[in-house]
């Protein structure tokens, strides 16, 4: 039905989250109708992003630099580490402009159903970091979903002998995503964080 490169483009677009066959088709035709230069720019940014963005080897967030901007910023407290599940949660926390410490991205939450156990998360690295940098406080900024709670429990137990572990005060919607919490809610949760028992 479609000429071959077009079919391939539609097929690729369709694999993106939230995009069905109809939308994929619409997007493909739109891209081809635009000035060639613009579409090539889009293609180039895809290539650049894929090739240049890697993982910061200290905090495991996505970054073109290693270490990332935050990890290499001497003004950010070394002794305070905020633990989040995904790189996008770093962005959510940064938007509050309240937080002056560093981050640690676990890369997911414990979920046996999805085959995610402690081995799949950057937990060992967190423990090492806490000891190496003499971290005084670890703030768990993780959704209070069942998987989030279990992850908080796990990390909290591991770190307890080495440092103070706190978590954001709830007030975050139960099972809600950090990403969707507005800045005010997050800023308040950060202020009201409490120590894990």
């Amino acid at each position: 039905m479609y000429t071959r490169p077009l079919a391939r483009l539609i097929d690729q677009l369709q694999r993106l989250p939230g995009i069905g066959p109809k939308t994929a088709q619409r997007l493909a035709f739109y891209l081809l109708k635009r000035p060639k230069q613009e579409t090539l720019q889009l293609a180039q940014s895809l290539i650049d992003a894929t090739e240049q963005i890697g993982v910061c080897r200290q905090c495991f967030t996505l970054s073109a630099e290693d270490p990332c901007d935050i990890c290499s910023n001497p003004n950010r407290e070394l002794s305070q580490v905020c633990v989040v599940a995904e790189p996008r949660d770093v962005i959510a926390m940064e938007r509050t402009r309240e937080y002056k410490g560093r981050y640690h991205v676990l890369g997911g939450l414990l979920s046996p159903m999805e085959g995610i156990g402690p081995e799949q998360l950057k937990v060992k690295e967190l423990v090492q970091r806490v000891n190496r940098d003499e971290v005084g406080e670890v703030i768990m900024a993780i959704n209070p979903s069942v998987e989030g709670e279990t992850t908080i429990l796990y990390v909290g137990k591991l770190l307890k002998p080495f440092t103070k572990v706190t978590r954001l005060a709830s007030g975050l919607p139960m099972g809600g995503d950090l990403e969707y919490a507005d800045e005010m809610t997050l800023a308040r949760a950060l202020e009201d964080r409490r120590e894990l028992i």
Partner: protein
């Protein structure tokens, strides 16, 4: 409370059906498979967020559509509320209260209360344990809407823990311990609430049991669980939960299944000294179910300070005249009641008093005068 109107859009076999209620009783009469139960199901859905029959929202949405809607105007003691629930084939729901989209579906709960009594419930006493658990849960979500969340969270922990138990090679103890702790914590929340509910229902059910049977046997509602009942202290219950998990660990690992917790618990009805499930005659068991339903009604009324709706699906004809009259006498004109039947002749004439009667035919309602 009183439902003033109900509007179904692409819900089951109703394409677009709106109806206003003017009488305390609504009787839906029709042949099999015309949509009588579907109608009651819509009300149950608004009250509890779930349906006894459907596992997925897709089943509730009219075939060929990708979205359905249930909308009701409810007159409560505190004023009037409009409840709206939009169902999508994707499973994503939207809830509106007075036209305002709610951040959580749970916000709809607690606004409309129903006691659902169907012929299926006649098996409550001797049917499978799952039926008795969902009976308790259906009342609890109406008494304290947060229960819906607590029970969903427990189910989630349970699924996670079960897939952990199935893992090959076996998961190390310290990792299982993490989920044990979560299971105990979330399970305790469910168990405490179920026990509390039974404690409150028991005296009411005992009262109705003796009114209906004319006897004076005591009725006990006993929550059967591996976790012994030694008071309501959550820390202690959690502790006992963990002890039971430890005892059962080998078996759980072997079967790849969680064997301890509220998903395995059970209710036993004890009449006099004997479990009604084993020794009650069919008539006795029916009397007992009716007593339980009346107790449910009374409890919801006490807590909300207004009577819930009573939904009688195909059950009236199953009760003898004496029990029909007892039920009628109890609800009077105070309790808004919805009745479905295949034949108007199958119950007492008294039920037709102050009733609107509708004929149901392939998803459309027609008033019978």
């Amino acid at each position: 409370m009183f439902v003033q109107s109900l509007h179904l859009t692409q819900f089951r076999n109703y394409l677009d059906q709106s109806i206003t209620f003017e009488q305390p009783k609504l009787i839906l009469v029709g042949d099999n498979a015309q949509g009588k139960s579907n109608f009651l199901e819509a009300l149950q859905l608004l009250a509890t967020g779930r349906s006894q029959r459907a596992n997925r929202d897709r089943e509730l949405i009219q075939q060929g559509s990708d979205q359905g809607r249930v909308l009701a105007q409810v007159e409560r003691r505190e004023g009037r509320v409009e409840l709206e629930l939009i169902l999508r084939a994707t499973g994503h729901r939207t809830a509106r209260l007075n036209g305002v989209t709610q951040p959580r579906i749970g916000n709809l709960l607690g606004q409309l209360n129903t006691v659902f009594f169907s012929s299926w419930d006649l098996d409550l006493v001797r049917g499978n344990p799952q039926q008795r658990r969902s009976w308790l849960d259906g009342i609890l979500v109406q008494l304290e809407p947060i229960y819906a969340q607590l029970s969903d969270q427990y189910q989630q922990v349970l699924h996670q823990r079960n897939s952990l138990l199935k893992q090959i090679p076996p998961v190390p103890d310290h990792e299982l311990a993490l989920w044990d702790e979560q299971l105990a914590r979330h399970g305790t929340r469910v168990i405490r609430r179920r026990r509390r509910l039974l404690t409150r229902l028991a005296p009411l059910a005992t009262h109705w049991q003796s009114v209906i049977s004319g006897g004076n046997e005591t009725l006990q509602l006993s929550y059967q669980s591996r976790i012994p009942d030694q008071g309501d202290d959550p820390l202690q219950i959690e502790q006992q939960f963990r002890e039971q998990l430890a005892q059962k660990q080998a078996a759980e690992r072997y079967q790849g299944l969680s064997l301890v917790g509220p998903h395995r618990d059970e209710v036993e009805f004890i009449l006099g000294e004997t479990p009604a499930r084993l020794y009650g005659s069919q008539g006795q068991q029916r009397t007992l179910v009716l007593a339980l339903k009346l107790a449910e009604l009374e409890l919801l009324e006490q807590v909300n300070q207004q009577p819930p709706l009573l939904l009688l699906d195909d059950v009236l004809a199953e009760l003898d005249l004496k029990r029909q009259n007892q039920l009628l006498g109890t609800i009077g004109e105070r309790v808004q009641t919805f009745v479905t039947t295949t034949h108007l002749g199958s119950f007492e004439r008294g039920w037709l008093k102050s009733a609107q009667v509708y004929q149901v035919n392939a998803g459309s309602l027609q008033e019978v005068s």
